[in-house]
Symmetry: C2
Subunit: 491 residues, 2 copies
């Protein structure tokens, strides 16, 4: 990476001053929507709006040009039609702009004429020493600067995942799901057509970026796979790289060609590349977030032995199947541990692993079993089902009742909620005390909304809670694979 690349990506994610070129006051124009999003989230740098025809937005008067701002502009986001982008580069250069984000579609992804337009635009940018993000991009997000320079109305949550996506709608969707699920991002870029800055540039920056702990990539095709091969192996030894490779089929590749103009490459080539570089493959769109989140929050296991704690037998059976299918070891309960748990649970408990809590209503007994399993040297990780939000399974409705009965029900509800919270806190604490991952599955039994089960108040930034056991098992297996890979590489 040349110094110029470093400067450019550094400026992109840490702009002291930025301009939106093509600002507008019209509700349905990106020239209004983008700066509104930036202002809404409280960008910590200085924002300037530029439109030669004048106007204003939220009390900010538009400058006739970037040069007219009279200060050095690190980043310019250009929201005008494709054919006019090249024309504003001279002005950007005059303002000392290091990077331009070109959001417009209609470049190389759409037609031969668009490709010519893109090549001419990039050549002009190069001649001014300006680097380009996109075109055909939905923008960027940068947590340390509270900078949401994005087209959709999504509000990303600040956190430690850096994400480069070869799709704006999929990428910003992930930011939205992340906000909903308590998963935060350090940086995000929709790479667009990669006419200039490309995956490898972002990847190298993320590797060095202190606010980033996990790197996530949504890839239809790498423009220069060789460069990725050269850098990803070393990066992934220190920071995990989660990758979702789309366009793995004929139908997907054809779709990608018209979407991101990406050359998809064959499945086999990418599979080999992912293996060789130690990147972590997400097999589903949800796994992009599940894996990234777990790698931020959970310690890596020392081996593949899993203890399963389930509130009921059926889910224990399903979880045991899933763990074994995913290559984990559901080993037997050692005698000593069986005796200790036997003193806590009713006589008809499962007496094996999975530990079936047989609908036990005393929630402190759940916590005691969790502690015993997590502390046992026989297990490297714990899979906990149905206890993290047990409150929702009990929730008697006190509204239907009256008098002393209402008080009794309210007291019971308060007890369950309090003890559920205690359980969740102990999950977070035990992971730290024992340096072992614990993954939880929450199973709301009411026809209530999952967000109404009290789990919102849990220490979300330290817990991984899944909505079904399939995803939890995959996360545990991924952590074990990651730990195994690092051991095999002596890292």
């Amino acid at each position: 990476m040349s110094n110029r690349d470093v400067d450019a990506v550094e400026a992109l994610f840490n702009p002291r001053r930025m301009a939106v070129i093509g600002a507008s006051s019209h509700l349905a124009k990106w020239g209004r929507i983008v700066p509104s999003n930036i202002m809404r989230d409280g960008y910590k740098g200085e924002l300037y709006l530029v439109n030669p025809r004048g106007g204003e937005l939220n009390g900010m008067t538009f400058y006739p040009s970037a040069a007219a701002i009279g200060k050095e502009i690190d980043l310019a986001m250009v929201t005008i039609p494709a054919e006019n982008v090249e024309g504003v580069l001279e002005d950007c250069a005059a303002a000392g702009t290091k990077v331009v984000i070109a959001i417009s579609g209609g470049f190389s992804e759409s037609s031969p004429e668009g490709r010519a337009l893109e090549e001419s635009m990039v050549a002009k940018a190069r001649s001014y020493g300006i680097r380009v993000v996109g075109p055909n991009t939905m923008g960027i997000y940068s947590a340390p600067w509270s900078l949401t320079a994005l087209m959709p109305p999504v509000r990303p949550r600040p956190g430690h995942v850096a994400f480069a996506a070869q799709s704006g709608n999929l990428g910003t969707q992930m930011l939205g799901w992340g906000s909903f699920r308590g998963i935060g991002f350090s940086r995000f870029v929709c790479i667009g057509n990669e006419c200039d800055l490309e995956f490898a540039d972002y990847l190298e920056y993320f590797a060095r970026d202190e606010s980033t702990r996990v790197i996530l990539l949504y890839v239809e095709g790498f423009k220069r796979p060789r460069r990725i091969l050269e850098i990803a192996e070393e990066i992934s030894l220190s920071k995990p790289i989660v990758i979702y490779k789309a366009a793995g089929t004929g139908a997907g590749s054809r779709a990608a060609a018209s979407h991101s103009a990406a050359m998809a490459g064959t499945r086999e080539v990418y599979a080999g590349m992912i293996r060789q570089t130690g990147m972590i493959r997400a097999e589903t769109t949800e796994e992009m977030l599940d894996f990234s989140d777990a790698l931020v929050k959970l310690p890596l296991p020392r081996g593949r032995r899993v203890a399963i704690l389930s509130w009921g037998g059926g889910w224990g059976v399903v979880a045991a199947d899933l763990c074994e299918q995913d290559g984990l070891e559901v080993g037997p309960l050692p005698d000593g541990l069986r005796n200790e748990i036997g003193e806590i649970l009713p006589s008809y408990w499962s007496k094996g692993n999975p530990v079936d809590l047989v609908g036990q209503l005393n929630m402190d007994n759940h916590t005691r079993c969790l502690e015993l399993l997590t502390r046992s040297p026989e297990y490297d990780m714990v899979f906990s089902l149905g206890t993290i939000n047990a409150a929702s399974a009990f929730s008697l409705k006190s509204e239907d009742r009256d008098g002393t009965e209402k008080s009794a029900v309210d007291a019971q509800r308060a007890y369950v909620r309090d003890r559920s919270m205690h359980f969740a806190q102990r999950v977070a604490e035990l992971m730290q005390e024992e340096d072992k991952p614990i993954v939880a599955v929450k199973m709301p039994q009411q026809d209530s909304d999952v967000s109404a089960d009290g789990t919102d108040a849990y220490p979300q930034d330290r817990l991984c809670i899944h909505a079904n056991p399939e995803r939890a098992a995959r996360v545990l297996a991924m952590l074990a694979d990651r730990a195994g890979y690092l051991r095999s590489r002596g890292a």
Copy 2:
């Protein structure tokens, strides 16, 4: 099936009168929780509570015995400890009881002594001509009688899926998820230890039951697989049977042995049986509901050709991959159709299948594209992503604004919501008009709750809406497989 079996299962799901034996007024006793659930949901038959020690609940005085009720009791639910169950059968017989549900654990699933207790109890029941559900069961649900005779507080939604589950907590969890997702059940039984009535008895009843359109089974192991083999093939030609087979691994089988006392059998035997009988295998716990729901609501496709309509390119790529991986055909757009869609969308649209709406803000253009694709003879089904709840992607917050701007934003919100609803209604109508399935994926882009995106008001009983493209693709492939199977059998 003998007449006695028919009578028994008939009485179980359609009891004119039922008694809870072991009624209690203590908050934490099943003898109180179960009748409370029954009363809450408005059971249409007559409910009686029995406890020789007397007492009352919600103004209902306990009878000293079932016989003392003085009327014929079709169904008795027994909520007392295992060792006392056998002792109440004589009284049940005196009241003319046809079926007993024994909820207690501590029978054959827990120990050799428990097994002896169970055998003795069943022998006694047989001697009185009483059939037994369970023991070790969480109960039943029957929509036509609004009968929720269940231990957990779940409120099932009435509908057309009949569900027999070899796990109470997993089974009732599915009922709860169903309520949350708009998926309704006609009947539910947690089969427990199958000491007497077993899978095949319920299956035969569901086959004849007019309120049931799809049968769902959660199976750890069939007690008498041969009997299932004999009946399932014929049943599945007229009513689809969705099956989730758990305990397919060593770890899962060991867990099942202590949970339901089931002999899990080998994966291969079950795979062969499922194939031979034309049952439909759910590979994940979520697919139990996804598949059942789709088979209730959607028409079967005539072939495997799928048209993909996506609001953005990345999701189109992912959907195309998934369809092809699942054995569907993502065929090209015929010229005529390409020209028609070209007149609706901006010039930089994808010009192929997937049809990428390129962030098109005019929602009626979404609807027009949907109509063209669904009506085209080139496609057997339609996969629609990101449009069903596009409202959530636009949702500007009017609270942050004032004056004319607030009105403008409110007007835009109202427009998007209205047109999103129109789109959803057209999905339902087009399926009927064209007799083709349309599966939708909703992609909330805000950090808002999915239930707040307006989709609650959609015609839920006629739509299948999924939270990610993976599940939608699997549902479409399942429907195509089902249609192919029926054609191959001349059905």
